[in-house]
């Protein structure tokens, strides 16, 4: 069965069904209940599931994320919502020092089946404390899995996928995507964590991307195609684990690579991907790889500056042309 819904509705549907199917699943975070979720994902859930399973927490990111870890250890399947990725830094200690380490430190005795969802990304003129893309930073941490749904289908599927995992999974929802509509097939094959998806096939150039940048890359690929450049666009979907196989296969086909990442360039996931391609597919490359990332500045408020800081279709097209010039 297929229907056209928004990204917000897809996440919402994913959570609702998970809660209906498994009594151990509950949602907690700031304003998930009475307010209806800061991005309205859980609107009406309080009435539907009651205050024991839809828990409005105080502004205590570290404590309620830690409580999520504890509840997961205790047999529950918590979904912790952190309003915006910048606020997750207040919970970074719990995520990095506890969620990511307990299984290992306990010699495999205690796993943490926790899901943490958070909103990410720039574009709404919210300035430097609300607009960053830190998923690459989280992808640095062994013990975590990092999922980034770009499409409506993935936004829905990844909720169940994350909940089914025995280890902590972070899901990053880009704030600019919530109102975007897309096709949802509720009978689609189940996903597996760590499988990228080729959204557009091409033979000249591989564009590796994820999240909202996928749509910019697809748009850019159309423009490049009108200029005779046939780009392949891959949605990575998971930054940890990365799908090396899909990446290297594409590189072996096109011999040219561009990475589009809303994170900053230095020490980023795009840098990691380049390093892996160097390690695993160096001799496949016909040209140096290229990157389109966010300019290395805290995101400014003024719209024209913010837009200039973020990756854009135009920047991707320009980079695509440049990569094709070199041979």
């Amino acid at each position: 069965m297929s229907e056209k819904i928004t990204y917000r509705e897809a996440v919402r549907k994913g959570i609702r069904e998970a809660m209906e199917n498994d009594k151990r699943v509950f949602l907690m975070g700031e304003d998930v209940g009475h307010y209806g979720g800061s991005y309205a994902v859980s609107m009406g859930f309080l009435e539907l599931f009651g205050s024991e399973r839809i828990i409005d927490t105080p502004l205590s990111e570290s404590a309620f994320t830690g409580a999520g870890i504890g509840a997961a250890l205790g047999g529950m399947r918590p979904i912790v919502e952190i309003m915006t990725v910048n606020f997750s830094l207040l919970a970074l200690d719990q995520i990095m020092n506890n969620a990511a380490t307990l299984l290992h430190m306990s010699g495999g005795q205690f796993n943490v089946p926790l899901v943490i969802r958070m909103a990410t990304g720039g574009g709404k003129q919210l300035a430097a404390q609300h607009s960053h893309s830190l998923e690459g930073l989280y992808a640095h941490i062994p013990g975590l899995k990092v999922l980034i749904p770009a499409t409506v289908q993935d936004a829905y599927d990844m909720v169940a996928l994350a909940l089914a995992d025995p280890d902590p999974v972070l899901i990053f929802e880009n704030v600019m995507l919530y109102n975007i509509k897309g096709e949802l097939d509720t009978e689609a094959l189940p996903l597996v964590i760590g499988k990228a998806k080729t959204e557009r096939t091409g033979k000249d150039l591989t564009i590796l991307t994820y999240g909202i940048s996928l749509f910019k890359a697809l748009e850019a690929a159309e423009i490049l195609s009108s200029e005779g450049i046939d780009a392949e666009v891959i949605d990575l979907r998971s930054l940890r684990p990365l799908d090396d196989e899909t990446i290297m296969n594409s590189v072996a086909k096109t011999h040219r690579v561009m990475i589009v990442d809303e994170g900053w360039k230095s020490g980023s996931i795009s840098a990691e991907i380049m390093a892996r391609i160097n390690e695993q597919a160096f001799f496949e490359l016909d040209a140096p790889m290229g990157r389109v990332c966010t300019v290395e500045v805290p995101i400014p408020y003024a719209s024209h500056l913010e837009q200039a800081a973020l990756p854009s279709t135009e920047k991707i097209v320009t980079m695509g042309r440049k990569l094709m010039e070199k041979s």
């Binding site: 209806g36 709404k124 200039a308």
Partner: protein, 316 residues
């Protein structure tokens, strides 16, 4: 209290009120973007607190910062230009509504991480103490901040190190859509401060005179070297949390009830001789001028996008 001072308070509160009403209008015209948090209903706090400060004192506040910025004396022109994202703005268009800054008035923001300003205020006061500057640092935050670890850690440090900080909690009963009784086991916030052995009190935050008196007293205690003081102001926001809030979490009747305690109304009832019309006219002009100033401001060149990441780009 003197009639002259009452007039001054009224004028300042009215300026904040009318300024923000204009902001709403400009927001719907998409001149201002991002999050816009209104202070309407809470004006007595900023005006009463700032009255007790000297020009040297330092201020740290939250993202709901227009009232504090105006009361502290930052020019309306520069505040509005900031919301327009123009270079003439008090943060050069880099910060927007939530991040107003002004070195001249020692206004250290405009912090959009809830409770993020408390440790900074503690550090500023520590520097003052170490450098033997007789200054007060005021730190303003909402009731929501009380749940964060940084609140507790900062209060403890300020008390332990005997620092000249005035903590001001704007308790409007809600953190976004979550009422205080759903998030605090003890809803009397001043008691929490008292538990850290901080001299602490609760005041009617709708009454500018009460706030001003409490602030005066607190500031003289602090200047006398008696360590930090905590004031909890009981208040209410008349408008939604931000421009994206359906207000499903509270009854209209509750809002109406609090509007009877409108700080402008209360002050005028007490001082019927205040000539409201005079101020209205004066303020319309100030605001019109601010709109002109913001409209005619300049957008920073995109070539300068990467400026202000490191100080070498600022200090010649």
């Amino acid at each position: 209290m003197e009639l002259d001072l009452a007039r001054e308070f009224y004028r300042k509160m009215l300026l904040i009120r009318r300024f923000e009403e204009k902001c709403v209008e400009l927001y719907s015209k998409e001149k201002i973007r991002g999050f816009l948090h209104l202070y309407i209903g809470e004006e007595a706090i900023a005006v009463g607190i700032m009255d007790a400060l000297s020009p040297e004192d330092a201020v740290f506040t939250t993202y709901r910062d227009h009232g504090q910025a105006l009361a502290r004396g930052i020019q309306p022109n520069r505040i509005l230009a900031e919301m327009y994202g123009k270079v003439e703005g008090c943060s050069r268009g880099r910060g927007g509504s939530m991040h107003l800054f002004d070195a001249h008035t020692h206004f250290y923001g405009g912090n959009a991480i809830v409770a993020g300003g408390l440790p900074l205020a503690v550090g500023m006061a520590l520097a003052d103490k170490m450098m033997k500057r007789n200054r007060v640092t005021v730190c303003i935050f909402g009731d929501g901040a009380v749940a964060e670890g940084e609140f507790h850690e900062s209060l403890n440090l300020a008390a332990l190190w005997h620092l000249p900080v005035l903590f001001v909690c704007e308790n409007n009963g809600y953190a976004m859509g979550t009422a205080l009784e759903f998030t605090e086991s003890e809803t009397n916030i001043s008691l929490k401060a008292a538990a850290y052995r901080i001299s602490s009190r609760q005041v009617d935050g709708m009454d500018v005179v009460a706030v001003a008196e409490a602030a005066q007293e607190a500031v003289s205690e602090i200047r006398a070297g008696n360590g930090p003081v905590f004031i909890e102001c009981l208040t209410y926001r008349f408008r939604a949390h931000s421009m994206f809030d359906a207000e499903r979490y509270r009854e209209k009747s509750e809002v109406e009830e609090w509007k009877k305690k409108d700080p402008l109304l209360l002050l005028h009832q007490r001082f019927p001789n205040i000539d409201i019309d005079k101020y209205e006219t004066e303020i319309v002009q100030i605001i019109d001028e601010a709109v002109d100033f913001a409209e005619n401001g300049t957008l920073e060149s995109i070539d300068d996008l990467e400026k202000f990441v490191y100080s070498c780009e600022v200090i010649p």
